[in-house]
Symmetry: C2
Subunit: 185 residues, 2 copies
């Protein structure tokens, strides 16, 4: 949480910086600092044959990486609408069977809402519609390939999905839970 | 990486903000932004009976959390000297058998060097010497308890250690590697 009395000291493109005077255990004060990152969504799109859709994305300066579709939520946009928009823009697919998996709240120093969705039975409805800073190829994996891919440090997924995947690898019960959430609700 | 041409647009307590004009795939330009976070160290301290030392830390505004000793590297300080200082300040122990495990470089948007050390055969040499913003109790765990504790989202360890712990839980070979690095080198 960023305390109410915190002041916005810098407004950036992706990050805003807040500071406040925090009383210490000995009664003195220190300047504390936290960030607010722009909120975003991620989507696990599932095909009717049980494969998971993934994207191979290239961004200027960052290069190539494998990830799930997703992106920033626009001002005033609802998370689910952002998920629909990003799925359509990045993969050209759409779904009418959405499931909200969970939410990541950021770390101790960075406030950040990241909403995680499953889009089941996705169908091709349009062409990709990419930003000037995106090149995207679409591919697919089985559930077990997805879990193994999650172990790769270069697989650029959210902390929430990384955590769910590793829990599934560490504990068969958690694996069944994740499988159910992705495929059956 | 933060590109050479990036400009420091805000200097904070913990985070500095850099921006630059990045050419997009269609030739247009966008303002890109990355952060530099102050570098830090973490230490896994091991007792001569094979237990791992952990700390229960309280910070103003953040509350209680379990973690390993560690903290920010001071300006001009070497990572290993910071590790020795933090271990002594937070636990009152010292070691003459140090092992450098690895380094975390931050995420796509946040540049951050976090250095991970093992301090073996630690011995009590002094009292704790805490900052005005710290209250710390020291405890210990076995290796297997440490791995299970690593699964707890409230266990406040670095992304590097989280990743090493989950890899150890997912793969017996990785578990033996981690065990060797912590206990035998």
């Amino acid at each position: 949480m960023i305390p109410k009395e915190a002041k916005l000291v810098f407004k950036g493109v992706l990050f805003d910086v807040y500071q406040w005077q925090q009383e210490q255990f000995d009664g003195t004060e220190k300047t504390f600092e936290k960030l607010k990152r722009k909120n975003s969504v991620n989507i696990i799109p599932v095909l009717d044959d049980g494969k998971i859709l993934l994207i191979d994305e290239e961004q200027p300066e960052r290069g190539d990486f494998i990830t799930v579709p997703g992106g920033q939520i626009n001002d005033g946009e609802k998370p689910k609408d952002a998920a629909r928009r990003e799925l359509r823009e990045e993969t050209g697919t759409m779904s009418d069977d959405w499931y909200f998996m969970g939410e990541y709240f950021g770390s101790a120093k960075i406030r950040f809402h990241e909403y995680e969705y499953v889009a089941r039975n996705v169908k091709k409805v349009a062409r990709q519609h990419l930003d000037s800073g995106e090149k995207i190829k679409v591919g697919w994996m089985t559930f077990d390939e997805f879990l193994q891919c999650g172990r790769d440090p270069m697989f650029a997924i959210s902390a929430y999905l990384k955590f769910r995947i590793y829990e599934a690898l560490a504990d068969p019960k958690k694996k069944e839970e994740l499988r159910r959430e992705i495929f059956f609700r």
